[in-house]
Amino acid sequence: MPVPPRSYGENHKMTSDNRPVATALSRRTFLRRMFRRETILGWLFVMPALAMYAVFVLVPAVLSLRYSFFRWNGIGDMRWVGLQNYLTVLEVPDLLGTIFNAFRLVIFFSFIPVSLGLVVASIIHRVATGKFGSISRTVIFLPQVIPLVAAGIIWCWLLALPGLVNQILRSIGLGAYAIAWLGDFDWALPAVGLIGIWVMLGFCCVVLLTAIANVDPSLYESARIDGASWFAEFFNITIPMLRHEIGVLLTVTVIAALAAFDIIYVSTAGGPGNSTSVPGVQIYILAFTEQRIGLASALSVMLMVLVLIVVIPIQRLSREEAS
């Protein structure tokens, strides 16, 4: 009597003698590889970093997700509220508005610094070589080494009504345009964005300059022999060859924009009238001033999902283009 075929599920492939096909590795091979000396050593090397990552990133992330389903003041009892915190974020205009502000910041923290960085890096690469090039790189990168809180405070002074920016405007006869930039409803967000451009530009520039230096010089030489202008070089060599770096920079700066906190908190604290309030500031206020850990966690989770939604396509696109 023939043995009925054993069922291993619909998708499982079978050999001709009715045995399941081994998946990627047989169990024995898998175990042998698992306990190879190199593998154990590798895990030992990774373990300290992995442990830190788990304790300070993964666990808090999972805990935030958990808190987002509770009403909790951070000290007393927790009460399960399901999706109520998420609904509150969507219902309260001031909370939802912070997400829109964050997207407006992307223009200043990401698009402008990356575009400007490309232009500046390209110019430095073409015209500023030797000592002048090094000095230019250092000057442009300098904002990166200044703590953001200190930078925010200095920019507050510069952008105040009696500050340097308005003094310059007055000295060139444009005193009528002098305003308190960080206190004006229309200009506060662009003014904060300007601080972001100042901080991010150096980072973008240095990354792009390094990448340009790695581009085969013969490409530029041949272009110049063919009489290509700076624009032609820029659009036909520099940008296509730097797609991967541009992708990385867009990812980093978009995350910086959407998760912005320090510059905003120090320069405007979200004002005037919530016009510069971003999720980072609201999360801080909700969690620490209002003691609404659940709602703050819900906004954090939504922010994280939002960052992923924006960043994953950028990553995919830059990888495809680079390949």
Binding site: T23, A24, V62, L63, L65, R66, F69, F70, R71, N73, G74, I75, G76, D77, M78, R79, W80, V92, D94, C156, L159, A160, L161, I179, A180, W181, L182, G183, D184, F185, V266, T268, A269, G270, G271, P272, G273, N274, I285, F288, T289, E290, Q291, R292
Partner: protein, 467 residues
């Protein structure tokens, strides 16, 4: 299963466990504090004799004190308030066995950190409490009733109801959870030279007279009122707004709203008149055009530098103004709506509390009592704090230099009398940051009107209370 799939399964399992883990066991791990308040041990002797949950009557023979053994007091104070530091130094001079481990933080950080500090392993013996209701409800603050009875604080002329909360969480009566450093007073400071320029020979007697002076200042090309409004230090227009509220209506309903009495609202007809009055001041250009970007310290510096005829502030700024413009700063309480009316003011002590699990609560209470009763401490309070030192009735008022602004502020206290209010920014822990500040900033920018301001703040208040 390949590695990627395994990873996804592990992550998914983690998430499901995290969510479901406590979903069923609602009322999950209460980390620290019990929901009931800890009753203050009246004395070291009494503590040993009776469990801390039972109110204890202080024996008359021995009042709570700091003993003679070395004690390190753990204090957490607000940055920029020198008075308390000077008082701790003087206290150590008089009681050398007591030393201090002091930490300071900005006002906003202080609010944010307070619950964690109170619930932590090393809770402060003394902590500055801008608001206390939520902490008291969470059982993080010590009940000071026994200390009040032992030292006789209930008989002091400065009422303690500002720091009392009943079982329903309503302020104004019930258990005492904090006490005050001194009795501060707010009102209108003025630059004497600039005031003379606009013909002000004496403080205005009515709101109309004050309006007239503001118009004259504007016409003279002077800034009528210097005030701050940046979200970083909180909106300073809350000061004139509340003063106007107390002009147009009684102070009782305002205090009821701050104390969270059931049914209380800030959106009343008289408050609407006050908000409209403030709106007119804004439209008339009586405040600096960059008010939304001005921080508290900037406004104080600019007023001290001669910018602005008037500014709304409190007597804690006396020393700063005096140092900047010696002999040139005056003060008056906000004039009433009609001549002969009773002036009103935001007035109250700087609130300090004791953590429920504080190690040296007796010494903290003794220190509070010493501040109000010791001659040197009272002098420090007036010299540096600029405020009425409070304390028992009948004690002589410390000496004040002739012609100083402190003389004016000390004279203003009795004028206000019982018409004192708490600050509308203290109604809930975040009504200032989430309600008054953004809505008043919108009013400055012409994006909010008087009626909308009160409605928006009331909505925020109800939303926070619903939590």
């Amino acid at each position: 299963m390949n590695t990627k799939k395994t990873l996804w399964v592990v992550v998914a399992l983690l998430i499901v466990l995290a969510i479901v883990g406590n979903a069923c066991s609602c009322g999950a791990p209460a980390t620290t504090a019990a929901p009931t308040a800890t009753q203050a041990p009246a004395t070291a002797v009494a503590t040993a004799a009776s469990p801390s949950t039972e109110p204890t009557q202080a024996p008359e023979a021995e009042l709570p004190n700091c003993g003679t053994d070395p004690i390190v007091m753990n204090g957490y104070f607000e940055t920029g308030f020198e008075t308390i530091t000077k008082l701790t130094e003087e206290f150590t001079r008089q009681y050398p066995n007591v030393t201090w481990d002091l930490k300071y933080d900005q006002f906003t950080n202080l609010i944010n950190e307070t619950p964690r500090l109170l619930a932590g392993d090393n809770p402060p013996d003394l902590i500055r409490l801008p608001t206390f209701v939520s902490f008291a409800k969470q059982g993080l603050l010590m009940n000071l009733d026994d200390y009040a009875t032992a030292f006789g604080w209930n008989d002091w002329p400065v009422p303690l109801q500002f720091a009392r909360m009943d079982a329903d969480g309503i302020r104004g009566s019930g258990t005492l959870y904090a006490t005050g450093l001194n009795y501060q007073l707010t009102g209108v400071f003025y630059n004497k030279e600039l005031a003379a320029q606009i013909g002000m020979t004496e403080p205005p007697a009515t709101l109309a007279e004050f309006d007239d002076l503001l118009a004259k200042a504007k016409d003279a090309g002077l800034l009528p009122i210097m005030q701050w409004g940046s979200a970083k230090s909180g909106m300073g227009l809350a000061f004139p707004l509340q003063q106007l509220m107390a002009d147009y209506g009684p102070t009782g309903p305002i205090n009821d709203w701050i104390f969270q009495k059931p049914g209380a609202t800030i959106d009343t007809p008289s408050n609407l008149l006050a908000a409209q009055h403030l709106e007119r001041w804004l439209q008339n250009g009586y405040f600096p055009p960059d008010i939304n970007a001005i921080e508290y310290t900037d406004a104080a510096t600019r007023f001290g530098g001669g910018e602005g005829v008037f500014t709304f502030n409190g007597d804690w700024q006396n020393k700063g103004y005096n140092d900047a413009m010696p002999g040139n700063v005056g003060f008056f309480v906000m004039p009433p709506l009609e001549a002969g009316g009773q002036p009103a003011a935001m007035s109250g002590p700087l609130t300090y509390g004791v953590a429920a699990d504080a190690k040296n609560a007796d010494c903290a209470a003794f220190f509070f009592n010493w501040i109000g009763t010791n001659e040197t401490a009272r002098q420090i309070n007036v010299d540096i704090g600029g405020s009425n030192p409070g304390g028992p009735a009948g004690l002589p008022m410390p000496t004040v230099p002739e012609g100083s602004v402190t003389q004016d502020t000390l004279a203003g206290g009795p004028m206000v009398g019982s018409n004192a209010m708490d600050f509308i920014a203290n109604a809930t822990s975040s009504i200032f940051a989430q309600g008054w500040t953004p809505e008043l900033q919108k009013m400055v920018g012409g994006k909010q009107d008087a009626a909308g301001l009160l409605k928006a703040v009331q909505a925020e208040y109800l939303r926070e209370l619903a939590e």
